[in-house]
């Protein structure tokens, strides 16, 4: 398989995976806010629950920012992150930023009526920003692939 064919396959896979990862990420937040908060961190399961979310967040942010293909050659990485992919990523960043700001304003209004912990607020802000960026990027990539 040539580099171009490999890149084409990875671009299709990325366009399919990004929305799926966004849904998994949001589902994890739904679980967090459903009332089953990790404990005080003294048990092993609490450590796992508390650390899983920031680890997944960091992985998703790095995957989105770099475009993936970490274990591929430089030429394949260049092809999957070419000009249109970079433009779509920039649009994803813009959407993510706007979603984060909208969530921040909503949290500010909510905090006037309901006290909220910093951890909960961070969950909401990061969920909104990361999910919006991933979904917007994937939408643009899928539209480009299907046009």
């Amino acid at each position: 398989m040539t580099d171009a064919e490999t890149a084409d396959r990875l671009v299709h896979r990325r366009a399919r995976m990004m929305p799926a990862m966004a849904v998994i990420f949001l589902a994890q937040q739904a679980s967090y806010f459903s009332g089953h908060h990790p404990g005080d961190g003294s048990r092993l399961v609490d450590h796992i629950a508390i650390s899983a979310w920031p680890i997944l967040s960091v992985v998703l942010v790095i995957a989105f920012a770099t475009g993936g293909g970490w274990f591929r050659g430089a030429r394949v990485r260049a092809l999957i992150n070419d000009e249109s992919a970079r433009a779509h990523r920039a649009e994803g960043f813009r959407f993510g930023f706007l979603a984060t700001m909208a969530a921040a304003i909503a949290l500010y209004a909510l905090s006037l009526f309901e006290p909220m912990s910093a951890r909960d607020a961070i969950h909401v802000l990061m969920s909104a920003g990361i999910a919006a960026a991933l979904i917007r990027f994937a939408m643009l990539e899928r539209r480009a692939l299907n046009s």
Partner: protein, 69 residues
């Protein structure tokens, strides 16, 4: 992203008998990018437009023009 630019990339590419993948290979971008440029979904940078023109063997004005309608 598609406003204001008409392109003749598909016409010129097919005139040469190239596939999108072949043109993409010559220019160093993905086939997706060639597809989106041809369909007017994505407006290429000046650098990419010049690379496309060089690969096709025509001046960039022969591939792209402003939609003045």
């Amino acid at each position: 992203m598609s406003s204001g630019l008409i392109n003749f990339l598909r016409d010129e590419r097919t005139r040469l008998g190239w596939t999108q993948a072949e043109l993409a290979e010559r220019v160093g971008v993905s086939r997706k990018t060639i597809n989106t440029v041809e369909n007017g979904v994505f407006i290429p940078s000046t650098v990419l437009a010049l690379k496309l023109a060089a690969a096709i063997g025509k001046p960039v004005e022969a591939l792209f023009k402003l939609d003045e309608a």
